[in-house]
């Protein structure tokens, strides 16, 4: 498999303390890489570095075998699209207008979208099941609908890499699953490569090909979900008592948090 993105020995700091230390990993074509780790472990920062939005102090970020810093910003946006954790539109753009904004990195001097742009936006909306929402205002949508619209906008960018920052954090279980299903089907049908930051470890484990566990700014473990998510690693990194077993259907690792109350009940049983 080809590598879309390679990070080699990446160091980054906002001030005098390293925020990320010696990060090495690659993103292969067509894979979903799940990024997990406790709050403040550097996930969002790493995602911005992958996107070339932050300047690293040491190491290399290669996009299609070329340093990402050698690309113009607009060119990066044709290869990498980002679905941010929270997007608030100040003014009531319609869903179609929002999706169409994804064409910005492809536009020339003429400030209006052409037929091809509309076609692509339409396709992305079809793929994400948002066509029915086209005329609605972005303000009227539910969390799940908005997430799909933002994914549609990322698809409209026609980038081969999509980065998602906790896309499921505000969603109910049905919409969490739907979002991961969508991501999964897009990698299969469109050949996209995806990095998804998630706090839903067990759910992410069902869909991600590989996972990266980040701890205090360095990669604690990277590999297949079953290698990365063990009671040992999760306990050490999250400092929280957990039980890890296998999901009976998907056979992927499943994390159960052991609450104090749960333990008490176990004892009385």
């Amino acid at each position: 498999m080809d590598s879309e993105l390679i990070l080699k020995g990446v160091y980054f700091s906002y001030d005098d303390q390293w925020c990320l230390e010696g990060i090495d990993f690659e993103l292969k074509k067509g894979e979903i890489l799940g990024m997990i780790g406790p709050n403040g472990s550097g996930k969002s920062t790493l995602l911005k570095i992958v996107d070339g939005l932050l300047k690293i102090q040491k190491g290399e970020v290669l996009l299609l075998n070329r340093p990402i810093s050698s690309y113009r910003r607009g060119d990066v946006a044709r290869h990498i699209a980002m679905v941010p954790q929270e997007t608030t539109f100040r003014f009531p753009f319609s869903v179609f207008e929002v999706v169409l904004m994804g064409r910005f990195p492809h536009s020339g001097r003429f400030p209006f979208e052409g037929k091809e742009d509309l076609e692509i936006a339409h396709q992305s909306m079809q793929l994400t099941g948002t066509l029915d929402l086209a005329r609605r205002s972005i303000h009227e949508l539910s969390g799940g609908e908005k997430q799909r619209v933002l994914i549609a906008r990322a698809l409209t960018q026609r980038a081969e890499i999509i980065l998602l920052d906790e896309p499921t954090s505000f969603l109910d279980i049905r919409h969490k699953v739907e979002t991961f299903e969508l991501i999964s089907s897009l990698t299969q049908t469109q050949g996209l490569s995806v990095i998804v930051v998630s706090q839903d470890i067990s759910l992410a484990a069902q869909y991600c090909h590989r996972m990266l566990l980040l701890n205090r700014g360095s990669v604690y473990k990277i590999g297949e979900p079953s290698e990365v998510i063990t009671a040992d690693t999760i306990r050490t990194v999250y400092q929280c008592p957990v039980l890890v077993d296998k999901n009976p259907i998907s056979k992927t690792p499943r994390v159960t948090v052991l609450s104090k109350r749960g333990e008490g009940e176990k004892e009385t049983l």
Binding site: D51, L53, R72, R73, G74, V76, A77, A81, M82, P84, T87, T88, F89, R90, F91, P92, F93, S94, F96, E97, V98, L100, M101, G102, F104, P105, S107, P111, F112, E113, D117, L118, E119, A121, H122, M125, L131, D132, A134, R135, Q157
Partner: protein, 343 residues
């Protein structure tokens, strides 16, 4: 939605909207030309516009020397302040941002008054200082309110209130301590007055304002993206910082220029962009030209009202815009205050 449907914005829609609003602008200008204490009927005005020399000397004087320059200035000021409002609202991602509310207008007025006190002319010196006053205020307000990253509505508005109060005091001080005849009245600066319009001012202001608006229009799509978040705009290739600097410089230049001619006229940049957004949607490729033209229409209308409402005496136009603007501001705050308080 069908495949053939075009739900995006087309150049045709921008052009048609522009034409309709231009028509409205010409209409209101003609009506305004015919209104006032001295009776000149609309028919006479039309005859004059059409080039028939069928009106007498006095009427010609009233139309050409008094009313027309005033109408043109009203148009120019409304045009400029509305663009200022639209661009501020997008860049600061705050629907209540506007040159007057942020204190930028009073900063410009202080600059202009300083220029006059220093004995500078209106050719370059006064508008230049006015521009510097506006720019200084923008940087001050941004500096104070963006200390914690985001620009929170409440901080931004409070900063604007304080800056306004301070500059108003400075204006009062200057005007009461100098006997300069060019600083003829406090009301002129504090409530805006278009009666001092000169063709010389207009011919200086018009090209600069058109050029700056043109430059800002080029970035209208970028502004759309910024409305959806600075970071995602940055991600898609918008040079956010550069755009902010260009806009702040451009708006300071335009606003400073018109305020040195007209004094402080408040709320135009709040009312017009919001009405246009309600009517036409939030896309800046349409919103910028529509607000500009709509602003011109609005201020010509307001100034006409100011001229005739207590005829033969006149109100400063700022009184009219404040009468309309302050309740509108409260309405906006009440309607969506809760949504807008988060940064």
């Amino acid at each position: 939605m069908r495949r053939s449907e075009h739900l995006g914005l087309t150049p045709l829609r921008v052009v048609t909207t522009g034409l309709i609003l231009s028509g409205l602008l010409i209409m209101i200008a003609l009506i305004s030309l015919s209104l006032g204490p001295a009776k000149v009927s609309l028919r006479e005005v039309l005859a004059w516009v059409a080039g028939h020399k069928s009106i007498d000397q006095t009427a010609w004087m009233i139309l050409f020397k008094i009313r027309l320059p005033r109408i043109l200035l009203a148009g120019l000021v409304g045009f400029t302040l509305s663009i200022g409002g639209v661009v501020f609202q997008a860049l600061l991602r705050n629907p209540l941002a506007e040159p007057f509310i942020l204190g930028v207008s009073s900063g410009a007025a202080v600059g202009a008054i300083t220029g006059i006190v220093l004995g500078l002319g209106f050719g370059l010196g006064v508008p230049l200082l006015s521009f510097m006053g506006a720019l200084f205020t923008i940087l001050l307000v941004m500096g104070i309110s963006s200390r914690h990253g985001g620009l929170e509505s409440s901080t931004l508005l409070l900063t604007g209130v304080i800056v306004n109060a301070f500059f108003t005091a400075v204006i009062m001080f200057f005007i009461t301590t100098t006997s300069d005849s060019r600083l003829h009245s406090m009301l002129f600066w504090l409530y805006g007055d278009l009666s001092q319009s000169r063709y010389a001012h207009l011919s200086l202001g018009l090209p600069i304002i058109l050029i700056v608006s043109g430059i800002l229009y080029v970035f209208s799509r970028h502004l759309n993206l910024i409305v959806g978040g600075e970071e995602s705009a940055l991600q898609m290739g918008v040079e956010v910082e550069l755009l902010k600097w260009i806009s702040f410089l451009g708006i300071s230049l335009m606003t400073g220029m018109v305020i040195s001619f007209s004094g402080i006229i408040g709320f135009v940049g709040l009312i017009v962009p919001h009405l246009m957004r309600m009517l036409l949607g939030p896309d800046h490729r349409l919103l910028i030209p529509a607000s500009a033209l709509g602003g011109a229409v609005f201020l010509i209308g307001a100034d006409t009202l100011a001229r005739i409402i207590l005829s033969p005496s006149e109100l400063p136009v700022g009184v009219i815009t404040a009468f309309l603007g302050a309740p509108f501001f409260i309405y906006l705050l009440k309607q969506r205050g809760s949504q807008w308080t988060q940064s």
